[in-house]
């Protein structure tokens, strides 16, 4: 499974996607404030990462429904569970690695098992905190959360989708793990966006092969698709914003209507998006070739976010180059 060298794209570059003018964590925090204006049951909790999770506006707007527990992620999840038993909709915010690993058992036993209405607001997904190194990367969280019955996992690809995800998460009855990033990301959606939990968005039509991304890698898949047109390849791009329950219909359609399925995730390729897609295809008996791009059973190392995405083959040019290699 450990990768051979990631091939590099040798063709012309393409126009990068426009970047959002706001950091994704800040956008997420503002979206939550908007939800909380009309829903007095929404609470926000954080564990000494108020600034880093973009919740300062929430804390200022609704101090009576905000709690910073200090550096105590496990207790934060327990407190959120207790609030939820009393009809509140607590949003517990911390870094993804802490939400999914430090507080793992609290999330499973205090939130998922009793099916309590807690939203886990997990920032700095994947290698978003690149230079923080392995301790601060969240490359296992989707795999961990997917195994918890009752858990829904959502990962928005840009600011507009973050609004939709936040609204959907709060409206959904039951635990939701919301996988968020850190800095500004590319703009994927403009204007109206239809959004439904469990229903993947088709962001680019294509009929040769399908690229499936989630969160940050949706933009990278779009870039890869644009590059692949130089080789006369028409790539479909799906935004798998709901990692659980996964949209098996969209996966089946991709496998039936195109000749190859490639997943790209800022996560280990074990148990995340690629794992989920592989499970669906295998159980449906779909023999279409599948390739999983992501961090290949190693620790990602130190580097900037974009550098690490490129190093692990999940930036647009590297995705396109690997696709060409798969097709050979």
């Amino acid at each position: 499974m450990k990768s051979a060298k990631i091939p590099q794209w040798t063709g012309d570059p393409v126009q990068p996607l426009p970047m959002a003018d706001v950091a994704s964590r800040v956008a997420a925090g503002l979206c939550l404030v908007e939800e909380a204006r009309s829903n007095p049951d929404i609470w926000a909790l954080t564990s000494d990462v108020l600034n880093s999770t973009g919740l300062v506006p929430f804390a200022k707007a609704f101090p009576e429904r905000f709690l910073n527990v200090g550096i105590a992620e496990q207790s934060m999840m327990g407190i959120a569970a207790g609030l939820a038993t009393c009809g509140k909709i607590p949003v517990a915010a911390t870094f993804g690695f802490l939400a999914s690993m430090r507080a793992c058992e609290q999330v499973r036993s205090d939130i998922a098992y009793p099916n309590l209405n807690v939203k886990i607001y997990a920032t700095h997904a994947g290698v978003a905190l690149g230079k923080g190194g392995t301790t601060h990367h969240a490359l296992e969280d989707v795999a961990i959360m997917r195994t918890f019955a009752n858990m829904t996992i959502l990962e928005p690809a840009d600011v507009l989708e973050t609004q939709k995800v936040m609204a959907a998460a709060v409206a959904h009855q039951g635990p939701v793990y919301i996988r968020l990033r850190r800095g500004p990301g590319p703009v994927i959606y403009q204007g109206e966006l239809a959004y439904q939990i469990g229903k993947a968005n088709l962001v680019r039509e294509g009929n040769d092969l399908t690229l499936i991304g989630c969160g940050r890698t949706v933009g990278e898949c779009l870039l890869a698709a644009a590059l692949l047109t130089q080789r006369g390849i028409s790539a479909r791009v799906l935004d798998m914003h709901t990692l659980k329950p996964i949209d098996d219909e969209a996966i089946a359609a991709a496998a039936r209507e195109t000749r190859m399925v490639i997943t790209a995730e800022d996560h280990t390729i074990i148990g995340g998006l690629g794992g989920a897609v592989a499970e669906v295809m295998a159980e449906l008996g779909l023999a279409t070739p599948l390739r999983r791009l992501g961090v290949r059973d190693i620790y990602a190392g130190i580097g900037g976010e974009d550098e690490l995405l490129a190093k692990h083959g999940i930036a647009g040019p590297q995705i396109a180059a690997q696709v060409m290699q798969f097709l050979e």
Binding site: E64, R65, L67, V69, G70, A72, Q74, S75, M76, M77, G78, I79, A80, A81, G82, L83, A84, T85, C86, G87, K88, P90, E105, Q106, S109, D110, Y113, P114, N115
Partner: protein, 276 residues
């Protein structure tokens, strides 16, 4: 301060005895159980439900109810008979304890057991959940109280102290923790494995109002809880000194009965002693 009359205390003693009998019978049918910690916590739970807690068995999720979290979830064998006795469900159902798809098991499930306010089982989780409940009550101007029953061995879990810091910082005076101080955990004496003493001082240093009482005397437990209610500056912890396996002499103070399967002779001896 309200105190229990001798008649009220006697009534709770009788109920405690009935609970012990049900624990023995339930665990017999189930083929084993957490005897030690279930028997030690009986008077704590009986006093709570019999003389302290506000509840309505017809509305187990009544918003105004007091909340009880059995953080030492392995004493489910004591909680279930107590909830049955106070009418949350037909006590006859307890015969299914630990059977396939029974609502009642080794650790309690809030979505299956009417009257159970939180699913527990893994130690060190309940206090934080209680903080969340108390916070919600304070935010909504409710006057309900939250009781979290902890095991003493459970206090070796770091999350207990993490939550203890938060509870006192937030000055949650409607939150009361009760530690079932039976001095034994699964492997032996708490003091020989990882000493808890000075337990009261430790809680005090974490900002809690600390009381100690005899955990097998409903009048003393009741009195301590009343004192906890009267303390308005923060949360109170009651270290209730108990005997693991209380009421069945061959189990008392024996860590080997933390979880056990009784022989027929032991079962008869336990029945006989409780019937006395």
């Amino acid at each position: 301060m309200q105190t229990l009359t001798p008649e009220e205390k006697q009534e709770l003693d009788l109920i405690a005895n009935k609970m012990r009998s049900q624990i023995i019978e339930m665990f017999h049918v189930a083929g084993g159980g957490h005897f030690g910690g279930s028997l030690s916590v009986v008077e704590i739970l009986v006093t709570l439900y019999g003389a302290v807690v506000r509840f309505d068995p017809a509305q187990p999720r009544w918003e105004e109810r007091d909340r009880v979290i059995l953080s030492k979830g392995h004493a489910s064998g004591a909680l279930c008979p107590v909830l049955g006795h106070w009418g949350f469900f037909d006590e006859g159902l307890l015969d299914t304890f630990n059977q396939l798809d029974s609502p009642f098991g080794m650790h309690p499930d809030m979505n299956k057991i009417p009257g159970c306010d939180m699913s527990t089982g893994s130690l060190g989780h309940g206090l934080a959940v209680g903080i969340g409940m108390a916070l919600a009550g304070r935010a909504d101007d409710k006057d309900y109280r939250v009781y979290v029953v902890l095991g003493d061995g459970e206090c070796q879990e770091g999350t207990v102290w993490e939550a203890a810091m938060i509870g006192s910082h937030l000055k949650l005076n409607r939150l009361t923790a009760i530690v079932d101080r039976n001095r034994l955990s699964l492997d032996g004496a708490t003091e020989s494995i990882n000493a808890l003493e000075p337990l009261a001082d430790r809680w005090r240093s974490f900002g809690w109002h600390v009381l100690e009482c005899d955990g097998h005397d409903p009048a003393k437990i009741h009195q301590a809880i009343q004192q906890a209610h009267d303390y308005l500056d923060g949360p109170t912890v009651i270290v209730a000194n108990t005997v693991k396996g209380k009421g069945v002499s061959f189990m008392e103070n024996k860590y080997q009965y933390h979880y056990a399967i009784l022989t027929n002779e032991e079962l008869e001896a336990a029945r006989e002693e409780i019937a006395r």
